[in-house]
Point group: C2
Chain length 337, copies 2
């Protein structure tokens, strides 16, 4: 195919903070077919991730901001339609940064992974067997380094990363305490994800509950919020606590930085470690995590939940759902054929 | 000796924040001589350290607060006068938590170290060859883990810990940038302690100067302040930066915690590590540090400055000098015979 009729969702204006529906528009366009070294991919699912807020904003980040008028940057899973690269052939299922496009033409180097778990749904390659899963895996095991019998606290405990963190911590013999919003999610945390205790930050005094549920202090804290919830957890750290900063969902803006209590004294007294974590740094070891996560899924010791929005017209309003807390599982947009 | 006429400086009222002269009083008293397993020590110098603020305040800390009416807790160096313990004999020079007393009777276990650097002044056992030295040694080498060619930033750069940190970083082949207050201290930083660049937080825009002096970002930051100076350093972290929280001099009160910019986003973007450090955790390895530091002092690659107050009546107002920045070297009180 030399020219392909494509649909894309582009960033049409620059958000300050959370990107919302009005910052995007849907366009029809014609794209050039793949050249030597390139592949043509028909996307099946787009992944909706908190990181997209950072990509859409014009602020220092680990990737340059998405340009206005360009398709929104997004992880996706799709099927190779046409390949001009020896490593791939038509029919392969692949994941990578394919953006909010129905069809993507890209260099083969853009592909992160050829999905070979044919017995499992392709969509899992964006969730529990994708970056969410490896984020939980390395962010918990490498940065927090939980030991058997320790207490692990997880914010956004029912989320696509947090739910995996909690379950891996249980597999490793830890006691787990999840922090989430609604009663529905709290129930999910206990019944599906096996948390030993759950705190609803919308109803509970988080600091009081942390003291109640973590009588020996918090050994590990996997944080996706970095706001008042974290402040509450910080009041009850165990000696030598390790904290992974995986996301900053509570900081709705960071220019200027929001203010909060200075936590240095708490870190000093507990000789605790607060460390920023980006899963992309661990690329070399993804294969190790994918293999282990798939094994746990097949064994039934690792479960997941998906929240699938049907159709590309649902994409513009999808990112804000993560911040409004209205999704009830790994958020995906299904891209129709 | 069964009874000894002693002088002591006691904590007479509870400070909120920095302990000042009015919180102490000087008392004469009679103490019982040493029993079996105990030693009698005539103190030569009391050490004045920022940690004393924490000990005097009634707030969570790594040691219980000093009781009202008790002699102020303090590190000291002294000479054994009488020993009822096999490890020590009259004439030994020893360091430990001997408190603000002229004579101290204590269990031998209270002694931290028998000083065997007879060729060097005894007072150094409270500074560059004491806890200040080992704090710099482990806080820099173990927590920051500086690599040759990296940029190391030190707050309270001319202080008794900071000056040693800066010099060890130079010995390890790093570029060093010190942050201090006065012109006099800035000059000391460059001329005596070998810093490559100095920032005076009282005159300079610290963030601007950090960008100027650390063009590739801050790889290591040894922090004794945890306030606005740290905020400025945090704006320009290098990828994978390591930060040692050694002291919190800028937080004059921590109940409630003062507020400041939330630094999580900066830590996340740089995948940086912020870690609380207490030298007492490294006791088992002090001997390694003392030996290396003494070697560097004898070689002349590690220099020091002392600021000695003469007489115990100078003790009550001594701690506040650390926070007012009026000392010009390791602050000590000489205890007359």
């Amino acid at each position: 195919m030399n020219q392909i009729a494509d649909q894309r969702v582009v960033l049409s204006s620059r958000p300050k903070g959370v990107p919302r529906a009005e910052h995007f528009s849907i366009e029809e366009c014609i794209i050039e077919g793949p050249k030597s070294g390139q592949v043509l991919i028909k996307n099946e699912y787009w992944s909706i991730d908190p990181a997209m807020r950072g990509w859409a904003n014009d602020a220092p980040n680990y990737l340059p901001p998405v340009e206005l008028g360009a398709p929104m940057r997004s992880f996706a899973v799709g099927r190779v339609v046409e390949s001009h690269h020896g490593d791939y052939q038509a029919g392969d299922i692949v994941t990578g940064m394919f953006n909010w496009q129905t069809y993507t033409v890209c260099d083969a180097s853009v592909i992160d992974r050829k999905v070979d778990d044919g017995d499992l749904p392709n969509s899992l390659a964006l969730g529990v067997l994708g970056l969410n899963g490896v984020t939980a895996y390395f962010g918990l095991l490498d940065i927090c380094d939980p030991q058997e019998g320790e207490t692990v606290v997880v914010s956004t405990a029912a989320g696509s990363v947090g739910s995996v963190v909690g379950q891996i911590a249980k597999i490793k013999g830890c006691r787990t305490v999840g922090i989430t919003s609604s009663n529905e999610k709290a129930q999910m945390c206990v019944e599906q994800f096996g948390y030993d205790a759950v705190i609803r930050y919308t109803h509970d005094n988080v600091a009081d509950k942390i003291r109640q549920y973590c009588p020996n202090g918090v050994d590990c804290y996997f944080d996706n919020t970095c706001g008042p919830i974290s402040d509450a957890v910080m009041t009850h750290l165990a000696m030598g606590a390790r904290i992974t900063i995986c996301g900053t969902a509570s900081l709705t803006d960071w220019d200027p930085l929001p203010i909060g209590p200075r936590n240095h004294r708490q870190l000093l007294v507990a000789r605790a470690r607060l460390q920023g974590f980006l899963v992309l740094d661990h690329r070399e070891r993804y294969h190790e995590a994918f293999a282990q996560l798939a094994t746990w899924v097949r064994e039934g010791s690792l479960t997941y939940r998906e929240h699938i929005l049907d159709g590309i017209d649902k994409a513009p309003a999808a990112i804000q759902m993560l911040y409004d807390g209205t999704n009830t599982g790994k958020l995906l947009v299904r891209v129709p054929d």
